[in-house]
């Protein structure tokens, strides 16, 4: 066994997996990764099950150091500078840390959450089948709280498998898609239109429980108190002040505000990775379209292993370069055969 030591880490970083399902009827929050696709991609790179437990690294930087042997890891999700002992590491690749070598992750540039998967996965004692941290309920393993410097994971010694990269489809751009309801009839047409036609920004006070949206005030037809009913990941509730809140993975299992719309499964991770202060819009789609997208998303997760490539094949990904440029980052090809976002502009 090796150890992976958390040498430094910012707030809002914790162990997450596919979530804690089956006990919402008892009020138990689901939790789990904010960006399931990124979690699955990182896990796939090191041969784990897609929703195995990994480190969800929040927007700030972090350093992890291998001890008592080599450790193989992979990173995916919000892009950031990464290096192992000074040598750059690209997003969406695996890398092996030799005993004593640190992996350093910079601040997220766009998005918030990057997933660090460890070969053999993080080990702990599952509660309701999950190691996911739910800090409010004191659940999660091996640490039932956000990670702190000095924490460590006992992990498998690196297998020596060749390093891989994963070719993910170009992320969807454009509006975050929603299905109206369950309580869209608590709003008149003008306010539904206001919700769908306005530009929104995610407030800096958002967290894993909910993303507060800044924009016009949405008015209710009959007031803001409804009898509590069940919530889902991506429920958009409108409290009394008219400022919608998109409920995320640490949401309460029930809530008493009208829910105007629900983010489609395929776009919840995209919403999770929308940076605070960045303008975006919603778009209503039909149930048929939403379910079609949900099935495609499932198919994408299932077929992630088909997207693995040897990381030493030098293929400059023009599309990725151009995306990165569109996103406003200066990009340069690196000698490692991958591309890497240059220093902050």
């Amino acid at each position: 066994m090796s150890r992976l030591v958390v040498t430094s880490i910012g707030p809002a970083s914790s162990v997450q997996d596919g979530g804690r399902h089956g006990a919402q009827r008892y009020g138990l929050t689901v939790s789990g990764a904010m960006d399931r696709l990124a979690l699955a991609a990182a896990n796939t790179l090191v041969g784990n099950e897609p929703f195995a437990a990994a480190v969800e690294v929040g927007p700030f930087g972090a350093t992890f150091t291998a001890r008592d042997g080599a450790v193989r890891v992979a990173i995916a999700g919000a892009p950031r500078n990464a290096d192992v002992a000074g040598k750059p590491v690209a997003m969406d690749t695996s890398v092996t840390l030799k005993d004593g070598e640190p992996l350093t992750l910079g601040f997220a540039r766009g998005g918030a959450f990057t997933y660090l998967a460890i070969e053999g996965a993080i080990k702990g004692e599952p509660v309701f089948g999950s190691l996911a941290v739910n800090a409010r309920a004191g659940l999660g393993s091996p640490y039932p709280r956000p990670l702190e410097a000095g924490d460590e994971f006992t992990v498998d010694a690196a297998s020596g498998a060749p390093e891989l990269r994963i070719e993910l489809p170009k992320p969807a751009s454009g509006p975050i898609r929603v299905v109206l309801g369950p309580q869209d009839d608590e709003f008149d047409d003008a306010n539904k239109a206001l919700f769908l036609d306005s530009e929104w920004k995610i407030s800096a006070t958002s967290d894993r429980m909910g993303y507060r949206l800044e924009g016009p005030a949405i008015k209710h037809l009959h007031g803001h108190n409804i009898v509590s009913d069940g919530t889902v990941n991506g429920s958009i509730q409108v409290p009394g002040n008219g400022a919608p809140i998109a409920l995320m993975m640490d949401r309460g299992t029930s809530g008493g505000y009208p829910k105007i719309a629900t983010v489609i499964t395929a776009d919840v991770g995209r919403l999770a990775q929308t940076s605070a202060g960045t303008g975006f819009r919603f778009k209503a789609v039909t149930m048929a379209e939403a379910q079609d997208e949900a099935r495609k998303f499932q198919q994408l997760i299932r077929t992630l292993p088909d997207r693995l490539r040897s990381s030493d094949t030098i293929e400059l990904n023009i599309e990725a370069l151009s995306d990165a440029n569109v996103a406003g980052y200066a990009v340069s090809a690196m000698d490692a055969g991958t591309w890497q976002v240059a220093a902050e502009p």
Binding site: G22, V127, V179, L180, P182, V227, S228, G230, V232, M287
Partner: protein, 243 residues
């Protein structure tokens, strides 16, 4: 129950869940139908349904759109909800000990004043109630009860408290509650129970189920301390009475 029941409304909750709504208000008959549908779905084991969450007036059904679509599932749900389902009255009953007033029920005196009566009278009305767990939500084990004596219905506090202790027994609006973990609350605190409706390493982890019957009985504060220690050690300390 009438022969033909009004069909519930199917409200889309995104692409992987549907809310089956029986009523817009708190209504015992609707809650009974929610719990009956919940039970019937568990027995029917419909391919694709992963989890159900009963609430006062609706059942949230989580499902996998890769296994069943909204329309096909909706038809099945309406068909089952339209049947005359067996009532869920043969539930188990929990007798829950409560230390009323004092430091454990800081609002008891104010509630008595507001309702123009004595704290003892409030306790006897609360103890006299025959409750049902209508739903569990908000935080683990938080059991929302229907069946509160009408004379105890009163609006919630103007400003919610940011902290109320674990085990709080409270009333708010037409509802009564058993709260397991410390949490913010705008309800009126009448007492505390040593009973943990949720305790991680105990079997069962969750004590109450939606549909369970509940009655309360008063204990003194010394008994509370004794039972609280026993509960901390993993004892259930509620009395189970099977109907």
């Amino acid at each position: 129950m009438a022969e033909t029941l009004p069909p519930p409304r199917l409200l889309p909750s995104g692409d992987s869940a549907v809310t089956v709504e029986f009523s817009r208000t708190i209504d015992d008959a609707a809650n009974e139908r929610v719990l009956a549908l919940d039970k019937a779905l568990a027995a029917a084991s419909i391919e694709g349904i992963s989890e159900t969450i009963p609430t006062y007036r609706s059942l949230l059904v989580h499902y996998d759109p890769g296994k069943i679509g909204f329309d096909a599932l909706g038809e099945k749900l309406l068909a089952i909800a339209g049947q005359k389902l067996p009532p869920t009255t043969k539930a188990r009953r929990w007798r829950i000990p409560v230390a009323y007033g004092g430091e454990h029920g800081i609002d008891l005196e104010d509630v008595a004043k507001a309702l123009n009566t004595t704290p003892d009278d409030i306790v006897s009305r609360h103890v006299g109630g025959d409750y049902r767990v209508a739903m569990i939500g908000f935080t683990p084990g938080w059991s929302y009860l229907s069946g509160l004596d009408k004379s105890l219905h009163m609006s919630r506090r103007q400003s919610p408290r940011l902290f109320t202790p674990a085990g709080t027994i409270s009333i708010g609006g037409v509802q009564a509650g058993i709260q397991c973990l410390a949490a913010p609350s705008g309800w009126h605190l009448l007492g505390r129970t040593p009973v943990r409706t949720y305790q991680l390493h105990r079997n069962p982890t969750f004590l109450t189920e939606p549909g369970d019957r509940v009655t309360f009985f008063a204990i003194d504060h010394k008994t509370f301390e004794e039972l609280d220690r026993a509960a901390e050690a993993g004892e259930i300390v509620a009395e189970r009475v099977d109907a």
